[in-house]
Symmetry: C2
Subunit: 455 residues, 2 copies
């Protein structure tokens, strides 16, 4: 008799509500501020950029929020996603730890991003919005919102960070196949882009800058055009909790409970998705599950940034958000994990970290690729460069368990596959990838600049 | 209450045996012949190229063959694959037909090919083989056997048809990531390759020629090296029946039964995989399910070829197989469905067609891409160019049902996703793709040549 490896839910079992962690947080996240008045931003002010129901979710303190039926129907295309016991990885590491992963790579866009893209497109469509603008780093978000916009007949313009635009032509084509217009950022189509190019014509872009461009375009015609974001904001994290809500049920099916839950960390969406429903167990069932966010050591806002109000974008168009940040014009190194090249963390995650309710670790690029290949060779799935960060810490913790001779149950989120990122692996094989030292003074300089701008 | 869309089996429910259709065929397939003696090829002769247990399966008349536990364990990485009710596609076509698809694109290599790659690598490993050689067209088979070889520590050399090698660099990189050596065919590493290049230095290759190269290399050291094939042969088709065995159970879960089952057709493996278990119902339960093979109109061996003994490869290294064929040196047009550019059909499928137990249709390239995009826009999954052929006939049959005002249940196999084939879609959008006329005289010429060679 072979061992059960994979746990799935039927369409009927799949959760029908998202989990809003704000309801259970001992200290609620600080509100976003209007940069001019420094007062909490109002619903009216936000409605220039976002659909009404998304703003309600952004500000909600309800514990559970119903998933609309049309969204449930579209989730069924690929959800539930498998929870898998990684026997082969465990064996390769010769660890007493049990390792599970939640496989979000099985979505049509290849990552967890459609979990929020679909409700975002839905609520905008419902409100009569015709055009959406957004940014994308590695292209995971851009392809997800292209897919979702297609379902609801919305026109979409995507500003794609230039370094990824060049590294990942297939991602661009995927967005085109789903009908989106894709523009490399910085571009000459916006003031923000022109400004960045004037300062550095070779600028490879950043998520923060691409956000500036997308927001600028949306603001030109707020009556028919809205902006949407693939991470950071509360409503985005909310939608991703479908991951962890499923995983909680699936771990029960497996007759197990994780001691450690791990997600890679860019703006916080896949981390929140896998982590928050397990934090709920800490809050409400007195459990003591460690929940770890993993960031690249070249973009270490959680482990080396400071907690303060900062802009979400490079140019300062967004509201001020309370966040762990490296400064909004911090320019991260050109690592292949494009989705993790973001200067700040969402306000909920930042508050949780400040309160010691979650942990953070950073991992250098070469360690992440080594872990990713170990995973590809044992479990058979080539992971996205972003996801290799979560794998790397799963490997660290599994080896620590071995050293300590302890049984431990580890769960990580495989946020996406790497089929569109194979050139990164080619460069790794060729020895062309590197780690990036990030001296304290570089971070200090970027943060000091911040203090002068934001009083 | 939203509608159930997706049907899955648990690890425990997933079938533990493959179905061998030979046991139920009214006329058994003719045996492969030794090209020199014209006598049925012996097990000993085949063992130069293939592992013993694979040859046993090739010749078996047992109805069911147990799936080894190690193979079952690896299947669990992605199996069972979802059976999905395509509500959105039905709605877009405004058809009374119910359309289901079996989603084989969820495997780590993105297609159905690992279903046979894993047992093939397993049996070779078990026998102590160290090196494998093979060919690949679109790259689906090559990446699948790379994955499988990696699991069992086998060294692998893949001859990849040059047109695909150039069109699909990511497929090559995927094979590299799983440790395989990939060589564009025709190459200068074999006599067969040199011969083809001498005749036409610009030759874009074909599956038949790549087979010649891979077989030539394997024959150099049969004690440690074996050849393996991703389609055509009986044991390959056998392994793929896991698809249809699952689908039969899943259609029952859906409370439905197909009137029509559709698979695209290159050498026959995904077609057999979805189709044979439903033919079993025709044979043993008196059902009358139509099973349709779909080929490109530019490579129409089933609809315009002849039934006779022919070589499996271009150079004439393989045994003679009874097949519907266009002649073994037929050079198909450079369509994007690389996996369907093969001159012949496997002997089981050929016998079934000859006996009127299955049907065949051919579809021109532009119709397949149009159908593929309709599917991508409605069901959200970008299909492989090969798979769009099955979709095109599902669309034809659904529209026919509408015309006739008939309820019909259609099931097709989505053999793979198109994430690695996005350049094909880009060319389609740009109006650069075409249909290919294939005059009767071209086919006749190729077949006439055949008659001179094979008496």
């Amino acid at each position: 008799m072979t061992k059960t490896k994979k746990f799935l839910l039927t369409d009927e079992q799949t959760p029908k509500q998202w989990y809003n962690i704000v309801a259970d947080m001992p200290n609620k996240p600080l509100p976003p501020l209007n940069p001019k008045t420094k007062k909490p931003i109002t619903k009216e002010e936000m409605s220039v950029l976002f659909a009404e129901e998304l703003i309600d979710q952004e500000m909600s303190t309800e514990r559970f929020i119903d998933i609309p039926e049309q969204v449930q129907d579209l989730y069924k295309i690929w959800r539930s996603t498998p929870l898998v016991r990684a026997y082969a990885l465990e064996k390769a590491l010769d660890t007493p730890a049990k390792i599970y992963y939640k496989n979000e790579s099985v979505s049509p866009a290849g990552s967890h991003k459609p979990n929020t893209a679909i409700p975002q497109a839905y609520y905008n469509y419902k409100q009569g919005v015709k055009h959406l603008t957004t940014e994308t780093g590695g292209g995971q978000w851009g392809s997800a919102i292209a897919l979702a916009s297609q379902f609801f007949g919305l026109d979409l313009k995507v500003y794609m960070v230039k370094v990824s635009y060049n590294q990942k032509p297939y991602r661009k084509l995927m967005m085109n196949a789903w009908g989106a217009d894709v523009i490399p950022s910085p571009s000459t189509t916006t003031q923000a882009g022109l400004h960045a190019l004037a300062q550095d014509p070779e600028c490879s872009g950043s998520l923060g800058l691409a956000i500036s461009e997308a927001v600028e375009v949306a603001l030109k015609d707020p009556s028919t055009t809205k902006y949407c974001l693939g991470s950071v904001l509360n409503h985005v994290l909310l939608h991703q909790t479908i991951i962890g809500e499923e995983a909680c049920m699936q771990m029960e099916m497996a007759g197990d409970e994780p001691d450690i839950v791990i997600g890679c960390f860019g703006g916080g969406s896949n981390f929140a998705g896998i982590g928050f429903p397990f934090l709920k167990k800490n809050f409400t069932e007195g459990k003591n599950i460690r929940v770890i966010a993993v960031e690249p050591s070249s973009c270490p806002k959680l482990t080396r940034g400071i907690f303060q109000y900062d802009f979400g974008d490079t140019e300062g168009f967004t509201p001020l958000l309370p966040m762990y940040t490296l400064g909004h014009d911090f320019q991260p190194a050109d690592i292949h994990a494009g989705g993790l090249r973001y200067h700040g963390a969402g306000s909920i995650v930042s508050q949780l970290l400040k309160d010691g309710l979650i942990e953070a670790q950073s991992v250098p690029q070469l360690e992440t690729f080594a872990a990713g290949l170990t995973f590809a060779k044992t479990e058979g799935i080539i992971p996205a460069p972003e996801s290799t960060h979560a794998i790397a810490v799963a490997v660290r913790e599994a080896l620590k368990a071995k050293e300590e001779g302890k049984e431990k149950t580890i769960l990580f989120n495989l946020s996406g596959h790497g089929m569109i990122d194979l050139f990164a692996y080619e460069q790794y094989f060729a020895g062309k990838l590197q780690n990036y030292d990030l001296p304290d003074e570089v971070i200090r300089k970027s943060i000091d600049k911040l203090d002068k701008i934001i009083k």
